[in-house]
Amino acid sequence: MSYIGIDEPGKRMLLMGNEAIARGALEAGVHFCSGYPGNPASEILTTLSDVAKEFDSYVEWSVNEIVALEAAGAAAISGLRALTAMKNLGADVCADFLMTANLSGTKGGFVLVTGDDPSAHSTTSELDTRNYARFAGIPLLEPATTQEAKDMTNWAFDLSEELEVICMIRTVTRLSHSRGVVTLGPIKPEKRSANFGFQDMWTSGSSRITCMLHSILHEKLKKAQAKFEESKFNWYVGKDDADFIIVTSGTGWLYSLEAVKLLELEEDVGILKLGTTWPLPEKLIASHLRHAKEVLFVEETDPFLEQNVKVLAADLAIEGFGPIRFYGKKSNSIRGEFGAGTGELDVDIVIQALTEIKELTYVPTEKEYISKAQELLSSIVPSRTMSFCAGCPHRASLWAIKKALKWDGRDGIVTGDIGCYSLAMLPTGFSVARTLQCMGAGIGTANGFGNLRRFGLNKPVVALTGDSTFYHACIPALINARWNGANLLLVVLDNNTTAMTGHQPHPGSGVNALGQSSSKVLIENICKGIGVEVQVCDPFNLDEAVQNLYEMLQTDGTKVMIFRHACPLAFPQEKKVRVYVDQDKCIGEECGCAKFCTRVFGCPGNIWDYEEGKAKIDETICNGCGFCAELCPEEAIIIEEVA
């Protein structure tokens, strides 16, 4: 039995936040799990799929988040316990269903887990999905520790089932991907059969029915609130009637605790930690607003608690509460590198806020140390921009696109999309892509660019997408392009995996989340079905790739080029080779090469020996793809087969 499914209540284990969430779902007896890979939530589903067989549960990677939520919703209305996990932007994708599923209710426990990414470490937005809970009017839980991640997920199913409404858990990168010690609980798998028939109805209606259901939703929220007042996930530590309190949730809890300790403010500052953050447990909060004169809100990203508690405080004013001075994002007390309300929290940010408000000094390290460190950092430490892995086919594809567009000579536009190839905007991708927003926005926006000729924008439009992204979001836009006559060339960078998020399978993989063989949905067949010209090419055959791309750009219409070559991390090559640079043949900086492999092509396996003035291969990084050998103008890169 895989370790996450171990039936030893009371056992202490070191778990990742996402693993703890998965464990919580197992302890609740989850039946149906769905989602789409997305940092920081991906591991929730991979963990659940690892034990799906043992637990007789169903786990699927859906083509996108809305289908994932819809599928899970169906399972839940049929009486099963269902969980859907996604990254924050995934919530945008499934919002359409969420805003009706909240009204149409559920039968079995239905839990939505969203993973936010403050500081956007791996995301194109810092979207705070807690707003969705308030927007949709559904109960929201925010775990503060890995233990809570497990316990809350477990409880969320009970809560959802009792109230017959979808419940949301919001986690963040620092919780999902951090590890902490968790005490396991009992696993209570419950065999259930799915039932849905003519006697059932599952809808958010329209007109009066919708309003009625809306009102029922409000009632459910009131019930949730009553439960939240007593919840063990909310607590207060510190001086009973402290003048100064911190109101915090999620990762803010441990940061605040440590900040208060480091500043030796345990005697002065109380901390109200909330785990149930929508609807707010108003009575509990009021009991602490009663004694507080100053309140500091410590929460990730948006001033969600801040604004909602202020609304409560305004209501309470009539009862004689206050005046209270509030600190947080509005007062610019809690701020990241770029200001309040952006960037992730950490202990130092909370320390900064407390020292400013309370006019204290705290020096973690002496000024001299800091300035010496700063000087060293700026003078000798080069930055480290992200780059494609050694052997990545995207590097070849993007070089082919760059060449084809230069050949074309009309200053063509390249729109980018989400995946490893998002790096097409960076030097590693030759800065070929000039736009990047959300899944499918590459071809979506290209639809616009490709129809602006009448307004004078007469140049080739190339939209990038990956294989997984194609299935997720590009198909409607491709249909639109054909239907509305947008002149664009969609280049699908097909590396046979969902790479950036950890190499999950997709509809073209021939395998599903459970590792079982499954039907392949081929991208080229979809394109043919839509009726657009489609070609498949291996980007490592550079001359052919460039020639074909160039030719496609010479005529109008909507076209697709699939650059197909497997990701070397997901599908390492079997043939063992040794790649090295013949030092005599290498002309390095001379005219005719000018350090093409290291200075321009940029595979991390190609390095420069400053002493010898020649190129070399870093054998610990090189993965033997041999592409640089083809590009070397002097044929100085040699590939040797190794036994």
Partner: protein
């Protein structure tokens, strides 16, 4: 044992096995009865970017996953400039550093935009900021053990071979065997042992 948490930073370049190393160390610490918190950077940084793991041990209290600025007690550097970068943010005069001096060139350097400083300068700079610096050719030792990518395990061995942390060598060995049970447990154990021996053999610079 100690007032407050023991803070360990493991830093390197995406793909060097940062996460595996921190996981091994944290699991061993947890087995030895400590409370552990680990903060990681996953995702995009893995594509050749700088990555850091924060590992925090404590006797009772659980601490948040991020080490506050200037509070690292120990730094394991898988790559020299990443080590220096992390030291400038999280180091202090009492920090102990163990570093692999083998450079991994950022694309910024290879493309000619920036220069990679001489290794001696980097090590000197680190030395100026911390209490002690042990330089270990971990990649070479890993090659000896069978594969250069095990340099991360070598460095975990180095850490184990010092008195810097209360985590037991035996526990670490157990965890390594469990972690790599399906592939090359012996090679990884060898890498670990070479690390333990090496750190005891050398002196800080």
């Amino acid at each position: 044992m100690m007032e407050g948490p023991l803070n360990l930073v493991i830093t390197g370049v995406g793909g060097q096995g940062n996460v595996v190393a921190s996981h091994i160390f944290a699991s061993a610490a947890s087995k030895d009865g400590f409370n552990v918190s680990v903060g990681e950077t996953y995702g995009a940084s893995q594509r050749g970017g700088a990555v850091m793991s924060h590992v925090r041990l404590s006797e009772k209290t659980q601490y948040g996953p991020l080490i506050p600025r200037g509070q690292a007690h120990i730094m394991l550097g898988f790559e020299p400039i990443e080590c220096l970068r992390a030291v400038t943010g999280f180091g202090n005069r009492k920090t102990r550093v163990i570093v692999n001096p083998r450079p991994i060139y950022p694309i910024d350097v290879l493309s000619g935009v920036s220069k990679y400083p001489p290794i001696e300068d980097v090590l000197e700079a680190i030395k100026k900021l911390v209490s002690s610096v042990h330089v270990v050719e971990a990649t070479e030792l890993a090659k000896e053990a069978g594969n250069p990518i095990m340099q991360n395990i070598v460095l975990v061995g180095c850490l184990a071979g010092t008195e810097f942390t209360p985590v037991k060598i035996e526990t670490l060995k157990e965890v390594i065997e469990e972690t790599f049970a399906e592939k090359h447990p012996r090679a990884n154990l060898k890498a670990f042992e070479l690390g333990v021996e090496q750190i005891r053999r050398i002196k800080p610079i």
